[in-house]
Amino acid sequence: MASKRAQAEKAQADKERRYAQSVSALRNFPLIAIGVSVVCLMLLFLNFANIYNTNMNSGKGGNEIFYTGYQLFFAAISGSFDSPNEKLFGHISVYNYHTPAETQLSGILVLISVIFVVAIIGLSLWSFLGKKPIFNVVSAALFSAIFIMFTVCFIVIKTSPIMIKYQCNLKVCSLHSLAIIPAIVALIGAAVSCFASVKYFIARKILKA
């Protein structure tokens, strides 16, 4: 009887040791999530929309009107899509004049994405310091949402009818967006967090077995 109990205790201790081993292997994943999130935030300095004109600066090409991800974020947080303040909002007011629905929708998407990125940083820090690998699952969900939102933002900007209204008959301008780059980075973050989540669920099965 005593040996059975000792055996059970040993098995349980073995399970817990294996679980702890598996979970400790996940320890660095929150740091990766933080790194990816910081890269995402840095990539908001890219032009989320720009109209390139081949006939600027005395015949040389250049960006005619543009705004970065942060300028879109600031416009969304303040509701100032019509502000002429170039430093804070770039040329969002011009885009908003021609295509208000598309500009404001992409602003809202970027605003929510930034909130999610900040949430991932907070949760990952908590996960790393508190050794709570369950938050990898939350990070995976948030990264996936960010990927979708940046991708939708990219599509909305690229397919907006601004060129028809803005360009008139000139064929020297073209619309570009780099919003897809943070989307790709968010996808990498989602993949890493998903991998960590799967490893976490496998580790939990050890305890339940």
Binding site: N55, M56, N57, S83, N85, S93, L170
Partner: protein, 177 residues
């Protein structure tokens, strides 16, 4: 206690940051030279944002004669017809002026030189409707009747004060984005 103090400082700093941020968002009626094109474009695109504020700017006077022979006095600067293009299709950007007093007569208005009648203007938008004026196209400074008349759109500024600028050498008659 220390933590509460830190949070209080953080709260004050955040509040001040937001105050600065939102004050930067507010539209301003002072049009400076560096932002002339962008500010004028913004006023034309969102006139309702400027309907209750005083607008102040430096410009030169310009006489537009429509296809019916009627003269319209404007306060403008020259610019490219496109937002940032250098296609050579230059135009003017500014307001149609309404003033109880006398608006200084334009001079050298179409010449590529700073030697024009420069004024400092203060006023308010009369309304938020753009006036359409049909003008003949010009070729080499003369009316070209072969070309179709062009339609130009202007907001009307009710001028409350107008002052002649004598020292205009450093002002730009041509503005870009």
């Amino acid at each position: 206690m220390k933590i509460i103090g830190k949070f209080f400082v953080l709260f004050i700093v955040s509040a001040l940051t937001f105050c600065c941020f939102f004050s930067a968002c507010a539209v301003n009626g002072d049009i400076i030279e560096e932002d002339f094109f962008m500010s004028m474009t913004n006023i034309q695109q969102y006139p309702k944002n400027y309907s209750d504020i005083d607008i102040r700017y430096d410009c030169f006077t310009y006489k537009l004669t429509d296809i019916n022979g009627q003269d319209h006095l404007c306060g403008v600067r020259q610019c490219s017809s496109g937002f940032g293009c250098t296609c050579g299709n230059d135009t003017i950007i500014g307001f149609l002026l309404e003033y109880d007093g006398e608006i200084p007569e334009p001079r050298n208005q179409s010449e590529k030189s700073v030697e024009k009648t420069w004024v400092h203007i203060e006023g308010r938008l009369k309304d938020t409707e753009l006036r359409e004026i049909q003008i003949y196209a010009y070729t080499d400074g003369k009316i070209d009747y072969q070309k179709k008349p062009e339609t130009v759109k202007f907001l009307v500024l009710t001028v409350s004060e107008i002052n002649l600028i004598n020292d205009y050498q450093n002002l730009k008659y041509y503005v870009t984005k």
